[in-house]
Amino acid sequence: MLALAAALALLPLVFANNYHYEVAILVGLNAIIAVGLNLLIGYAGQISLGHAGFFGVGAYGSAILSARYGWPQLAALAASTALTAALAYAVGRPILRLKGHYLAMATLGLGVIVSIVIATEDRLTGGPDGMGVPPLAAFGAALSGERAWYALVAALLVLSVWLALNLIESPHGRALRALHGSEVAAEAIGIDSARHKVLAFVLSAVFASVAGSLTAHYSGFITPSRVTFLHSIELVTMVVFGGMASTFGAVVGAALLTGLPQLLTVLKEYEMVVFGAVLMATMIFFPKGLVPSLAAAARRFAR
């Protein structure tokens, strides 16, 4: 925890230019989503292939309320977060009764529905071309410049990790892990498994939504391509790649999966092939994800 905060504080020393800041900010925003999604996938053991939809509700909620209706940005952010939470709650209650691949399908369907609505309602959203978003501003001052954004995102990431770690070590977190381990046994000790699954779903949706709002403000522009099925998959991949049920794994996963494509652009047309191959090889050789597998290897080595 402190190590993460220290690393985030020292990182700017090696940043040579704005591009580095830009990548770091995107990594941080994705890491916030991954930390939240990990509560659902890694700890509660429930998959979602639709979280780009919640990202989208946050991003477009903020964009539409602030750009089209002139709301103050923070109010727009709060309102779209509340909207996401309400949506996740309303949809989560019926679909989280589904198990395994059926849940995967249902969440995927939800994500697809959100993405099509966003791409189609062009009067509000600008359709496939996307829409402009005013910069983040509060108390009369606009947040601008890569450094200021980096500070904000780094602080929020540390906050997210702290909240997630607290939750995991609380009775709620134990309940989530318990129902992952054995749902009947969890019920038999009084854990309302449905309620706790919905709790994890709503929390992870809120993380994605807030990151979505911030991403929209930071980029100044948002298109439906960030709300697609493929983006949902990317988010899940971050969690699994870094390591399920490992909060730092989620941060590492987000960093690698956001950073890797940036590095791979030098490979030009080979980018997809290499990315796909790296993804496959990592999951075949480290099925539990990078961080837990490497930690286990380090422990074995120490003995």
Binding site: P94, Y102, M105, L108, G109, I116, E269, E271
Partner: protein, 291 residues
């Protein structure tokens, strides 16, 4: 029946038959390995794209199509052998990510081997629409429906009447029993990926003259095939066919009567509703968990 309704039904049936073929691929692999193969759509893409390129090399359509099915099957076997088999025992999500990696890899390869352009395949037998009771249907649609029906019948026969087919089903119900009776679980895994790849490629070849094909044509078709398999109940052959047809018809009717922009929204909303009320899909098993 109004001509418009008939028109939508015919279009829905064509689309549904394609979805059903892809869905069968999902279900066959699921039965053999409990893996949801997110690279299933890429087999569809390979089928279409390979046929286009063999055709471009001067081969006759039938030969080009047959070779394309062979290529896809080989890719399927390689996927099973080099990616899924070594990861046996990994969690469901890990396996999903592996097949997603495979799908990205295959799409990347497609852009290298072929290109990023959109390609058309000529219709098998002419383009002139045929009139039926006020509606029209292109001959290719008839090809789709006829070929898919034949495949469904062959698969039904294979899984219900032949020893090899029954053995494949047996492994899905009970791995241990299958092992004891000498059915190689490994061979079944390979066979299932080979068969699913061939089915996907066939779907890709059949649909390419109607919807065109390209390096990323498999994404949406794979998604719809997955949806159809889940709608029918994953692992159930008749469920896959029913799910495919239901999804195709829902989409086509929604496009016709409501809004073409929202056709997928309506199809997926119906899917969600079905799953909420029938958590195992239309024909899926509903066994209570035993403790």
């Amino acid at each position: 029946m109004s001509a418009a309704l008939l028109q939508y039904l015919l279009a829905g049936l064509t689309l549904g038959a394609i979805y059903a073929l892809v869905a069968l691929g999902f279900s066959i692999i699921y039965n053999a390995s409990h893996v949801i193969n997110f690279a299933q759509g890429e087999f569809v893409m390979i089928g279409g794209m390979a046929t286009v390129s063999f055709l471009g090399a001067g081969l006759p359509l039938a030969v080009a199509a047959a070779l394309a099915v062979v290529v896809a099957t080989l890719v399927g076997l390689a996927l099973a052998k080099f990616a899924v088999e070594p990861a046996r025992g990994a969690s469901v999500v890990t396996l999903i990510i592996i097949t997603i990696g495979a799908s990205i890899l295959l799409r990347g390869l497609a852009t290298l081997v072929w290109d990023k352009k959109i390609h058309a395949l000529p219709a098998f037998t002419g383009e002139d629409p045929i009139a039926i009771a006020g509606a029209t249907i292109v001959p290719q649609s008839l090809w789709v429906i006829a070929a898919a029906s034949a495949v469904f019948a062959i698969l039904w026969w294979f899984f219900n009447r032949t020893l090899a087919g029954k053995a494949m089903l047996a492994t899905s119900h009970n791995r241990l029993a299958a092992q004891l009776s000498g059915i190689g679980v490994r061979r079944v895994l390979l066979a299932s990926f080979g068969m699913s790849a061939a089915l996907g490629a066939l779907a890709g070849i059949l649909i390419a003259p109607i919807t065109f094909t390209s390096w990323d044509a498999g994404v949406m078709l794979g998604l719809k095939g997955f949806a159809a398999a889940m709608l029918g109940g994953i692992g159930s052959g008749p469920g896959a066919v029913l799910g495919g047809l239901a999804l195709g018809l829902a989409e086509s009717l929604a496009a016709g009567y409501v809004s073409s922009a929202y056709k997928d929204v309506i199809a997926f909303a119906i899917l969600l509703a079905v799953l909420v009320f029938m958590p195992g899909g239309l024909l899926g098993a509903r066994a209570a968990e035993r403790v």
